[in-house]
């Protein structure tokens, strides 16, 4: 069943008075329970696309359908894990995880049951009463994932959530995320500029072209899980994507130095 559908999404930006075409007609279907990675050169508009799916930005034309119905506003059915975590520093870890549930008016008892469950899954129970500044970057991102999952979203959106992590922590989280995906059967859209991340995580990897962005290529990765960073059999996918991206990165750099 198609969970999420992007239909001909177009988005322009004002940049110093000039309008820049960021997304030039993105069409994408995501099946229920799928794990889709979007890769592209930095600044190609992949985060913008994710924000549009989240309802945080509105497209100039085109629409996003969730379960066949168009969406326009942000909603807890499409929770996002942001690159910087975006945890609230004035709340304890447990209250961060419960925040969306509180906004939804779910009573306290039920909230703490749910938050406990997801803190358990993310192995954060010990830190429930900590404030976020007491956590490492990796732990912060695990809280952010717990917070997003606690809302039991239809689609989980992830915007370069591991970009700021050291490589050991990242490798661990890449495995953890695969296990969570298998356990929760969530539909996930994961944006990254890191090719190996996309190969490890995605059932499908969507390559975005440099601005104005379109979908350049889609690569299906049919390989057993959990996939590990060091698995050499993933190299051929890696190189396939790298070849697609090389020209785009070159175009991007040319844009920037003009």
């Amino acid at each position: 069943m198609t969970k999420l559908q992007a239909r001909n999404i177009v988005k322009q930006f004002d940049h110093n008075g000039n309008s820049v075409l960021a997304l030039d007609g993105i069409n994408l279907n995501v099946e229920e329970g799928d794990f889709v990675c979007i890769v592209g050169p930095s600044g190609c508009g992949k985060s913008t696309f994710l924000n549009i799916v989240a309802g945080l930005e509105t497209p100039d034309s085109g629409e996003i359908l969730l379960n066949g119905k168009p969406i326009s506003n942000p909603g807890p059915d499409r929770t996002m894990v942001f690159q910087e975590g975006a945890l609230f520093p004035w709340l304890k870890v447990v209250d961060n995880v419960e925040f969306g549930l509180k906004m939804a008016g779910i009573p306290k008892d039920e909230r703490s049951q749910i938050s406990q469950r997801y803190l358990d899954i993310m192995q954060l129970s010990k830190f429930a009463d900590s404030y976020t500044h007491q956590l490492s970057m990796g732990m912060k991102q695990r809280v952010a994932i717990a917070r997003a999952l606690a809302m039991d979203p239809e689609v989980l959106l992830m915007d370069e959530p591991f970009a700021a992590l050291d490589s050991q922590t990242r490798d661990l989280l890449l495995v953890e995320l695969q296990l969570i995906w298998e356990r929760t059967k969530k539909t996930i859209i994961f944006v990254t500029h890191n090719i190996s991340e996309s190969v490890i995580l995605g059932n499908r990897v969507i390559v975005f072209k440099n601005r104005p962005s379109k979908i350049k290529k889609e690569i299906i990765i049919d390989y057993r899980r959990p996939r590990l960073t060091e698995d050499e059999n993933l190299q051929k996918y890696y190189h396939e994507i790298l070849n697609e991206l090389k020209t785009e990165v070159k175009a991007r750099i040319k844009d920037e130095y003009q």
Partner: protein, 267 residues
Amino acid sequence: MTGTTSKKGNLHNNLGDAANITLFLAIFIGIWQIVFMIGIWPTISLPSPIMVAQSFVKLGSNYSIFYNIGITLGRLVAAFSISAFLGTIIGIAMIKFRSFGKALNSISAGLLSFPSIAWVPFSILFIGFNEFGILFVVIMSSIFSIMISTYSSIRNIPPLYINAARNMGAKGFSSFRYVTIPAATPSLIMGIRQAWSFAWHAIIGAEILMSIVGLGHILSVGREFLDMGQVIASMITIFAIGLLVDRFLLHKLEERVRKKWGLDPHQ
């Protein structure tokens, strides 16, 4: 994790601070005593530290100092509460109505630096030579600081927090209550501290010129009766209250919030 050691460290620091301050005061009073004994100024212009202490005893013995402190603080609390309440509402209105906010913000430097004493003649003619006139001066001297800090604290909230809140379904009032207010709190407290010090300037000035009771008043009575002991004793009282309120109330509050947020690099 390092609870006990940091507590010990704090105690040690506090003791060290106290020793420093005592030493500083001792040297200051010593120099004062020496200058007094050299006799450059007549006693009426510069009494000795002991004479000022005697003025304290005199002001304390008929409780007049406590009465006047009470009057001044009562006025200050009343005026400051009104100012904080109205200032916050106007600050929020500045966010809601953008051109209003921009207009006020662009003249904020003039409003913030406007001397409190310059409100006195206006207040006497507009409100009257009375209690409300004094409150008016204090309110006008602190409200702009509250307004502008409310406005800028909310405007400077990282958009990331707002997006995260929207993403999790926060809307309208609950978004304001659970995201905007707490996110703006560290910077709001700094604004309140500043507004409080403006209000403190204003109340003493207004009392010197407009009142027949209060700390500012006993300060000006000291001048009228050529009683420099009382003038200095009043000044020391004003200094001490300003210091105590800031250190034990506003600064403590700020520290607590900063610690909770992890904004304090020294922990």
